[in-house]
Amino acid sequence: MKVTLHVWRQAGPADRGRFARYDVADVSPDMSFLEVLDVLNQQLIARREEPIAFDHDCREGICGSCGMVINGRPHGPERATTVCQLHMRTFPDGAELWIEPWRARAFPVIKDLVVDRAAFDRLIQAGGFITARTGSAPEANSIPVPKRDADLAMDAAACIGCGACVAACPNASAMLFVAAKASHLGLLPQGQPERSSRVVNMVAQMDAEGFGACTNHGECMAACPKEISIDFIARLNRDYLKAVIRRPW
């Protein structure tokens, strides 16, 4: 099959950026979308043009490195699929695709499709953890965790930190990311001592990073490659409300 790609090219943060058109022939339906970019990059290199910069690593949909917007949708059209696991059989022959980086104030573009997502790391640093020094842990089975809670915590913990939720949100909010971490840890007995400080600190950091507010569009859940539910945002809001009323903890 053949595809036409309009790829966002931006030499650096100071560059204005523009779309460049590339036609790629001999695409196999079994190729992943990133493999098409690989092939295109090899062609660009052969023509002595600059290859397209994009983040990628595991190519199994778990590291969260890759991410780009395809025809307006983060990670492309396939449900619950990162762009590295998106296969060309999803698209019709002759498809015309517009490829852009995540666009959000908190994720500045570094080059082409590569953005800086360090704000996510700072959100975790602000409180997305359980304080448990190495060596201080009690026997693992001394605290039973109901299977229902453990499973729900795992649903939230499945977040890969790719940033698609932010890219999909009209407000560029990081609520789904923060809610997933706060819920993962807040659902477990081990996470209770810091439950209130965690949500308050993470929300404060989220505002400081320039992420927008949540206005319940639900775009984040639709774009999330791990299908993390916005129910967790409700949980975060409830925990946040309780925490600010109860302050100090």
Partner: protein, 637 residues
């Protein structure tokens, strides 16, 4: 070069406890004065950096990914072993130790492996305390499953994302220390050299992958947690960025490289579909708990799997290994898959696959149970192949996955360069010639949480601290060398892309130094690799600038190192004139086609010393002393 393994004396079971009580401690005030560099932020690196910072050391951590959370440990699926005996099925520290030593075909150190089994239980405690959402039973207790090469159920798991959850636990502990200002994190930074001053590792040279700036960083000790080198094969289950550069540069600065030829080819991966393919995808070994592996009895049978009656199927693992069946260790399962495919009985396009079928398990347990156990793996398989494993058996084939070889380390995890440590997959220490499933996560976290934080203190306590900064001539020199190398890569300006060289190298290594090897092939491979390396430096085209985010340049540096390293790998496979674990030399096999060890000649760790460019590497054997276990021919029949 002198190899001193520093194994403590005394009974096996007491060695670690005694050693821990006897090693020197650094007092809390002095810990604040010590700077430690940790390179890599996977399970080993993140857990070590967090634990060292908790102890009070000043830590700098480097990773090439944009965030420490993306290290390749994240992709581990199946689980982590621990000798908890929660299933009451007779597990014990000794059994985990014995399974691991035997699984590694008796090519690992007893003392290291025993220690690994001893600390395994603490790892689970630690991870649960951090909030790792392991699978649980209805009563709230932790659940377990079985993995290959063992007969107990000792594997803890978090769906098919155990590596992700364990890494997030370590990453969160690390993030907490970053937030507290105890760890300085350097993401998108690639280590390109180790700086050695007066025989001690005192820092590293790093290239900032965004700006291209090369900088020097000084410390009192350097810890390499930079993973394995399976990408030498080009196609592997490793992430695209995984590379040998850090440990190879350390090797060139004096760190011995042990058993580089021991590479694990994992039996259950999705077969290659086309020449565009950039990487291979693993299907967790846990699938072999309930899946049955088979091929048609007759070569060239192209009927759909559902049309092949029971009597015309060969469940070859169950036939050959009745007591372990589909849970035979990885090296054996891989080799047997290759064998049936070589006989023309492979299935799928090109005949490079075998079936892994869940029909019987679905009939026995019901679809919901199977969906709960393996749902995400089935989805991943369907996404890639467009086939539904509930309806049609999976097709799988072996692929490079893990490397048991790595930097040689002593019992304290220190390399042959003082103050330079290697942990996790980057060292060679615990898996011998074959790693058992769910043991990599165990080893990475054992090294990072519970071993290195103690043993590094022993070195620092005895070290006379001479303040050293990056103005020292050794740093200036290493920095200049690194910058020069980057310029050289760009200056070749030839005709062939970096990727083309990498693919070619991968083809040579897969054919000659892969699942089975022979003397003539390895000799030829050494020549081919040298030729390709020469061509690389004559004809590679990188493009772009050094002072920019330049992914082709990153790749070029890594491939240049793979091209040097691959030669050592072949030398190692060539000198070991026996078969053991993953290392299958066609000349040395039993009549049943099993690996034929030669304990009289090869019961050693092959540690290699770098002898300079264009010179043959020098072999230093470290004899393996087995005081507790008896060496037997591994049998899973």
């Amino acid at each position: 070069m002198e190899l001193r393994a520093k194994i403590p004396s005394g009974p096996l079971a007491d060695k670690w406890e005694r050693h821990r009580s006897e090693i020197k401690l650094v007092n809390p005030a002095n810990k604040l004065k010590h700077e430690i560099i940790v390179v890599g932020s996977g399970l080993a690196g993140a857990s070590a950096a967090a634990s060292l910072a908790e102890l009070g050391y000043r830590v700098s951590c480097f990773c090439f990914q944009d965030s420490p959370r993306r290290a390749h440990s994240i992709a581990a699926q199946g689980g982590i072993n621990a000798a908890k005996n929660y299933q009451n099925d007779g597990d014990s520290v000794f059994r985990l130790f014995y399974d691991t030593i035997k699984g590694g075909d008796f090519r690992a150190r007893e003392a290291n492996v025993y220690r690994l089994a001893q600390v395994s239980a603490s790892i689970i405690d630690q991870c649960v305390a951090q909030g790792v959402p392991f699978a649980r039973e209805y009563g709230g207790m932790l659940a377990n499953r079985s993995f290959g090469g063992v007969q107990v159920s000792r594997t803890f798991y978090a769906r098919g994302q155990t590596g992700q959850q364990l890494l997030l636990g370590a990453y969160q502990a690390l993030s907490r220390q970053i937030g507290l200002g105890k760890v300085t994190m350097h993401p998108r930074a690639e280590m390109l050299d180790v700086v050695v001053v007066d025989g001690r590792a005192r820092g590293i040279i790093v290239r900032d992958l965004v700006s291209g700036a090369v900088s020097a960083h000084a410390a009192d000790a350097v810890v390499l947690a930079t993973g394995g080198y399976a990408n030498v094969y080009y196609l592997s289950t490793n992430a695209k960025g995984c590379n040998v550069t850090a440990i190879w540069r350390a090797h060139k600065r004096g760190a011995a490289f042990a058993n580089p030829g021991f590479t694990q080819i994992h039996p259950t991966c999705i077969p290659v579909t086309g020449h565009h393919q950039a990487k291979l995808t693993l299907m967790s070994e846990s699938l072999r708990n309930d899946g049955r592996i088979w091929v048609p009895k007759a070569p060239g049978d192209t009927r759909a799997p559902g049309d092949i009656p029971e009597s015309e199927r060969d469940y070859y693992l169950e036939r050959l290994y009745p007591s372990y069946g589909n849970l035979a260790p990885r090296d054996i399962a891989s080799r047997r898959a290759k064998e049936v495919c070589d006989e023309g009985r492979g299935v799928g396009p090109g005949g490079n696959g075998v079936y892994l079928e869940f029909r019987d398990a679905i009939a026995r347990l019901g679809r919901p149970v199977i969906a709960e156990r393996y749902g995400n793996l089935f989805e991943m398989y369907e996404r890639i192949t467009a086939e539904d494993p509930f309806e049609r058996p999976m097709r799988i084939f072996p692929a490079p996955h893990y490397t048991m070889g790595g930097l040689w380390v002593d019992y304290n995890l220190m390399t042959t360069v003082d103050g330079l440590y290697a942990i996790g997959e980057a060292n060679f220490s615990d898996h011998g010639a074959n790693r058992l499933g769910a043991s990599a996560l165990m080893q990475g976290l054992a090294d990072g949480y519970f071993i290195l934080p103690y043993t590094i203190g022993d070195y620092l306590a005895q070290m006379k601290l001479d303040r050293l900064d990056t103005a020292h001539p050794a740093f200036r020199q290493a920095e200049a060398d690194t910058g020069e190398r980057v310029r050289r890569l760009l200056a070749v300006n030839g005709r062939k892309s970096v990727d083309a060289f990498h693919r070619e190298l991968g083809r040579i290594m897969w054919d000659r130094c892969g699942m089975s090897r022979n003397g003539a092939g390895l000799t030829a491979a050494i020549e081919q690799v040298c030729g390709l390396r020469e061509e690389f430096w004559r004809d590679v085209y990188v493009g772009g600038k050094g002072e920019d985010l330049n992914q082709a340049l990153e790749h070029a540096g890594r491939v240049a190192d793979f091209l040097e390293f691959a030669e050592l790998m072949c030398h190692d496979a060539l000198q070991r004139e026996e078969s053991c674990g993953c290392h299958f030399r066609e000349e040395y096999q039993t009549p049943e086609g099993e690996a034929q060890r030669d304990d009289a000649r090869f019961s050693y760790v092959a540690a290699w010393e770098y002898a300079g460019a264009g010179r043959a590497p020098v072999l230093h054997p470290e004899p393996l002393a087995f005081e507790t276990v008896h060496l037997v021919q591994r049998s899973y029949k």
